[in-house]
Symmetry: D2
């Protein structure tokens, strides 16, 4: 490392872009913040790239798949998603039964609650107390169990009966009926300006796919209803319209929020179409090192042919409740601003 030992590098020139430094100002917009991220490295660079790609995906010529894992709705992301749907930025939504369950609970007037002071971690005795109080916990969000009984009534009076006559129906038939019933209930009860994700999708004619629907309270209720009626759900039927949508897309893009079944179901549809995604942005905190699909890189998806070889893609590592609002606000600023 002394001068004597030093030998000039053999590189002709160093062609990479210099890192400059992010600068922030009071009152700057979210889009300006995203520009500043583009100067920096590590994850900031990835957020900037994600915003660029997602803004391109918002072009009307791109068919946009939105995959939404886990518990995004009860934790405050409901409005962002319903706004994207109403603005025409979603061509298909792939999500979980949990999201649809909690979305519906709010449409009929239920509320989730902030638990312990934005706390950290958990403690057994604390959850034992919640059990006694009949409050269910989702990390730092609480839901009194009584809302599940109201949800059951909603399903049994408004959602399942019109389906039961048709015997085994597609899951998308159920999510559509749920959207209609949620919109009605929200209006009837004057609950809120926004009737939620399922309602917005129903009103905008956007299909909602929910491949693992049985893995949720909505699924449990559907099963209980099926015990005393001809009603049931076809696990495979939705793959036809989903694949058709992928097949017919000029250019296809996906925004993957979290991992799980929604992520893979969205990606795998490209295994049975000649094309693949031209754009892909994922927001995830799942670690790659498990080897699981949830934390897998988009490059891994490229080896399978789920992404085009020359697709633009970005992985943003972090909490979706922080990063989804940020990426959406910045991308919409670029497109609409």
């Amino acid at each position: 490392m002394s001068d004597d030992e030093y030998e000039p590098p053999r590189r002709e020139e160093f062609e990479h872009d210099p890192v400059s430094h992010a600068e922030v100002r009071a009152g700057m917009t979210v889009g300006e913040l995203a520009d500043e991220y583009g100067r920096a490295g590590i994850g900031a660079a990835a957020v900037h790239e994600a915003v660029e790609i997602y803004a391109e995906m918002l072009d009307p010529d791109v068919t946009c798949f939105l995959s939404l894992a886990g518990a995004m709705v009860p934790t405050g992301m409901r409005r962002i998603v319903s706004d994207l749907i109403r603005a025409g930025y979603v061509d298909a939504l792939v999500t979980t039964g949990a999201n649809l369950t909690h979305d519906s609970i709010e449409a009929i007037g239920g509320k989730h609650h902030h638990g312990r002071e934005h706390g950290e971690g958990s403690l057994r005795e604390h959850d034992e107390t919640l059990r006694d109080e009949e409050v269910d916990r989702i990390y730092n969000v609480y839901l009194p169990q009584e809302h599940f009984a109201l949800f059951e009534s909603h399903l049994r009076s408004e959602v399942f009966p019109p389906l039961a006559e048709d015997g085994v129906v597609s899951i998308e038939r159920l999510t559509r009926e749920l959207g209609r019933a949620n919109a009605d209930a929200n209006d009837r009860e004057g609950v809120a300006e926004d009737a939620g994700v399922a309602a917005a999708a129903y009103e905008c004619d956007v299909p909602v796919y929910c491949p693992a629907i049985q893995d949720s309270v909505l699924g449990l209720q559907a099963w209980m209803y099926s015990q005393t009626s001809a009603f049931s759900l076809d696990a495979l039927a939705d793959m036809t319209p989903l694949t058709d949508l992928a097949y017919e897309a000029d250019r296809a893009g996906c925004l993957l929020v979290g991992g799980g079944v929604p992520k893979n179901f969205t990606l795998q549809t490209m295994l049975v179409t000649p094309g693949a995604y031209d754009y892909a942005v994922q927001i995830t905190m799942d670690p790659e090192a498990t080897g699981g699909l949830s934390g897998a890189t988009l490059d891994e998806a490229r080896s399978w042919g789920k992404l085009e070889k020359d697709a633009r893609n970005a992985t943003v590592v972090g909490d979706a409740t922080v990063l989804l609002p940020l990426v959406v606000a910045a991308a919409r600023e670029r497109v609409e601003g």
Copy 2:
């Protein structure tokens, strides 16, 4: 902190167990290693606790649910699971279509391969090359795509036809048929001593539940077959026997390997039975901070009533390919050794 400032503590006495120190010796058994973990803190204490609990769960009077996420089979965990089934330690298996797909590929003579030197991470160009070579990557495991074509033939000749006559069947009907066909193929081809997870379950009459089956190559193939036949899969039918099993259990325990749909589907069945799990061990690397179910603590499950208030439970944070063999070997040593 000086002597002057120091005031004696107000605690009468300090009643917690002292941490002693793990000691290791050449030639020690895995069970002895687990005992040593019990002396230590952090995650070692959790592994020790997990072994204790799982050993209790192996009692014939405990009904054992095994949930197996993601990609455990292609990454080398197939034999451990099939051995557990054959030894009578599994009363129901809840898993993914991916595990069943890769399990079947090996039963018909296919092989997964170690990729790049047990490496770290990924690189776009590398996956582009794999794409050109028609090799699919699962983290550091490779699978030539040709095996999917052979798998398709196997399904279309041996598995789907007997089902097609019955129209819409339960997913468990399909996994049973797959187990039978895999056992036959493995024998016919003299593939290996072990015909795999589905085959072992078939032979031992252990039901295999796969709620998100459509989210896999197996699911894609089932869908393609359904396009030209009356065959389809009922998304809800399996919930009846699964709930019955939980209902009839004197004591119930679950070993949750990874998160995802298998974890929640295994847990949620207790929402519709009067009881709950008496024992629960989870092995996961999914972070709690996402708020998702995959990384959620078992205490959170307790707030929902999925675990008994006084259930014994342990969460082991880490890689399931390392920890599942360790926990199983140590627990079997206690029970059988």
Copy 3:
């Protein structure tokens, strides 16, 4: 779960705040985004809380400690930190030798570079190539090694000689001298508007503490210089002024960016003062489950008396290159906007 089984909850009323839903708009400010986070749960709630607390800490009456781990400077966070210093928002900076090394390299005209397309992961062959090209990699940031030779010259001509006469000096003496020399070099060479963190601290008379200085290229250079001179560094001397600052603070707050030695050194100073931090915000992605201090919760710090029992504190889990700009921009908007 059926109506029959349902029993009304025993809670008198449910007193937690309802979760509402974040809403985003094209052109909204970062501060408005932070307000929206406050409606949501999971990590968004924590970001909102962090902004609230940090804005309070920016009050001139609060003594502000900023701890800055690892590699924040070479990855684009240099300007945000130097701006905070120049705006009077930092009373003491605790950081690493790595940050000071890379800060100085830029002050003398060197540049870090964006590596592979904002990529993911790594691959052995790739790093072997970089080795041949004499390029050092920090995740996705590259630095040609030639800059270390120029840094050595800078140290040996501008920084070490004035110190050498005094024999064993405090580390803070060195960081102050480095700041002066960086400011001079930056001006002389017309490098950039911003001479960096050490220069800003020098000019604003803010002390820079670097407890593990020997663990860096700056430390290696200091050691080599010490081999041929009377110069050396006193490991303990800086603890006096740091403790004095904590002792004299009316109210004390800390912003902890990443973990490592800077985090603990900042926190532990409260073990030898009667008070403790009144405010604490940490931004970290280090997992709690290692049991290490880097990922430890601030509640753990409370058990040690590093935080006041009634301190306001928030932990934001995520990438500091994304979250530091966001939290700073939003807090400055509240205070200055």
Copy 4:
């Protein structure tokens, strides 16, 4: 994906090793378990590789550096490390002040304790209670604060006085004196068979380097003692013998347990020697995506020249309290078994 679309792959042949499947048996040894890991993928393959490499490093011709981060001693890893030292498997130890502090507390008769039932997470009120009870928490390990007062007496009567006469001494002088005093105290009090890490190192003449010593209770005590005596610590002095050891090594290897300063200090010594590490094994749970050194891959270290281009290296992702015992037991079985 149908037969028609299928085209034979262009690969001549597929030269990777097949993944077979791990098999476990009641009573198997830890070394046998490690062999089984070698059949599998994901992290199991990495553990197997780590065992292979570490067993090679135990060859007497390899100079072995052991870096030990954070809180390994209070959490039960003390005996494994002292046994490695006594067996001649460590040529230099690089560690933290925290490890030395807690090691000494046990040598003088103190005890750490298992906290809450091998629990998960934390809760603010709980830590407030611990604060009132004067108990410090390290994740799930508790330490009554009274032990720090006894530690202070030990330092002030047995450790610091012999050093004070020499003014500014190297940190390694202090750790050696501490080892001597711990060995004496342990014997005198009949505390335990094992006097701990510092004592073992003292008795076996293995240097203990502790670059960030001021960042610990040991460091705080050293600073307080320096206030009233000529005593202080030289931050740079230890780099000479450490570099000499690296320089003189025929072959060099490092076992990196956790990240932090010990990891980088161990690696960076190769920046000022002509050679580099021939073997490197790291056990860490720190995420790579922070961009920090703690979670950085060993490939990144290769770009800097800290590892030889053809070095054998393995990264094991997981909890060191689980993996250190496992890797050491398996490697010792290979070498001694």
